[in-house]
Assembly symmetry: C2
Homo-oligomer: 319 residues x 2
């Protein structure tokens, strides 16, 4: 469904700001607490907590992260889930969200209703109230920005920094081909991230949003090379499907397509990969695959089928 | 300065995302801590705190909140200060901010530099680090969204709810005519808001963003009428100046122009207005004016020059 309409009576211009905010509160229902703990005051009040807080912000933009082919509920899900994925990437627990909408006056009321109802569903599922937001006019288009606040895990926050030479490289799930539908249908790996943060052998973690080949550089310790084995990369069915039309190998899609929203982690090289995988299998049905190792820059390859990463690029924004 | 350029070499497209993020970190300098406490990880880590946290989100949008006549540093200041004003409105102390930018590829690097440097200046002045953000492409225009996290005052958070029949209505500063330049040059009333939150006679507070006549409804207790005395409204010089060209009375501008970013408060009716004002004068040179009173809906007017508020409307968005 297109987010826009030429019929004024079906557009937000027919409501105006005051009535639209009342509608939004109705659509959000129990997922949005009463002011001052929710929408309706200058700020939302969130209870204090002694633990480290995690803050992340990500938008969905019409013509960029979604178009008229994605249902409004899919757009809401994508917005919420990509922020949840950032909390998952540090092993955290999400606590509360705010949503700022900038949009033209011809946005369809029905579209917005489905969008907010989808936010409400996810808010309830994860017990993450939507405590505030903003709606504003912009000349054209639709940009929705969520800021999500979470809480660090009990033991420690898993950051991108921390990997060492010799560490194994693991990924959850299967990679590539997200553009087909995964990019708005994915599940953020919250429980998995929280579990991984309890494991002392996991040294660094992030989520894959711009493609494995590009994102991996953010985990890579200096003086090392990310040696990935081509045969170990878990390639999704969507990557294989895209390969047929793109004439590129499925591996290419697994390495360079963005929006996998899987977890990428570095694991102490003295651990046996199987030890972590066996413990994992008791908690999750998702694959957890060892795909390579950070080795010293000029070290001999541990794999006969090591991928030459210099030939792959992930998604580069704003070019 | 226009935020946009036709010369690709001067635009962000010439940099691309990765280099632009490095530039942004350089422009922000010491106002942006190192990851994971700042930009560079999936989330930013903010230290826990036992006090209630305040969360607010507000954007600035090209063609809506600013245009090419406002310098980029003014746009940055406006974005930061309107969020600070929301924290001030609850008596809070700002702690940390994240900024999400959605923009077309023809945004001028120089414009962005001035914008971020201005954010950095304000961040340093108020000791509010910019701990994270996002940059994303949107088909046209420029939308910058800040989420600001603050902390409740020691004693209590001043909400919009809490006023009672008989309460005095006060405002800080002078009202109206913000469009001339105040809307991007204003000072958020942080110290004032914090001081007011320590005063037990102050029962409810908010900032004036959509015009006194409209915003007042958010403080107004049910079963009451906001009786304002025309002669008591502190009218700004800008409102008088605008009155000359608009042919509307200056009072009209003071009541209906948006973006005053002054504090509006309800004060226990048993307090003498002078008592609060005398204590105030020891802390601030800003005017604190008693402009009226919440009286029972059908009560006789306490003022001979009571304003008929039903004839005034504030700024209605999205119409």
């Amino acid at each position: 469904m297109s987010p826009f309409t030429r019929q004024r009576s079906r557009s937000i211009a027919a409501l105006g700001e005051v009535k639209l905010i009342i509608e939004i509160q109705r659509w959000l229902g129990t997922s949005s607490p009463k002011a001052p703990n929710g929408i309706g005051d200058d700020c939302a009040v969130l209870a204090g907590s002694p633990r480290d807080q995690l803050v992340t912000v990500d938008p969905v933009i019409f013509g960029e992260h979604f178009d008229e082919k994605i249902p409004a509920r899919g757009v809401g899900a994508k917005l919420f889930n990509r922020n949840l994925s950032d909390i998952a990437a540090m092993g955290g627990r999400p606590r509360a969200a705010v949503v700022a909408l900038a949009m033209s006056k011809d946005v369809k009321i029905e579209w917005l209703r489905d969008f907010y109802r989808s936010l409400a569903n996810i808010a309830r599922r994860h017990r993450v109230p939507i405590i505030g937001g903003d709606i504003a006019h912009q000349p054209t288009g639709l940009t929705a920005t969520m800021t999500l606040i979470g809480e660090s895990p009990k033991k420690r926050t898993l950051a991108r920094q921390g990997a060492q030479a010799g560490d194994w490289i693991f990924t959850t799930g299967n990679l590539g081909g997200s553009r087909l539908d995964w990019h708005w249908k994915f599940t953020p790996r919250l429980a998995e991230g929280q579990w991984l943060a309890t494991r002392p052998e996991v040294r660094a973690m992030m989520d894959i949003s711009d493609g494995l080949a590009k994102d991996l550089r953010n985990l890579q310790p200096s003086g090392t090379r990310a040696a990935l084995s081509a045969g170990l990369i878990p390639i999704s069915r969507s990557a294989q499907q895209m390969s047929r039309s793109s004439k590129q190998p499925a591996l290419f899609h697994a390495l360079t397509d963005g929006e996998d929203y899987e977890l990428l982690l570095a694991v102490n090289g003295r651990t046996k990969p199987e030890t972590l995988q066996q413990a994992w299998a008791r908690h999750s049905k998702l694959p957890l695959t060892c795909i390579g190792r950070f080795v010293k820059t000029r070290a001999v390859s541990p794999f006969a089928d090591e991928i030459d990463l210099s030939t792959y690029h992930g998604f580069e924004h704003l070019r």
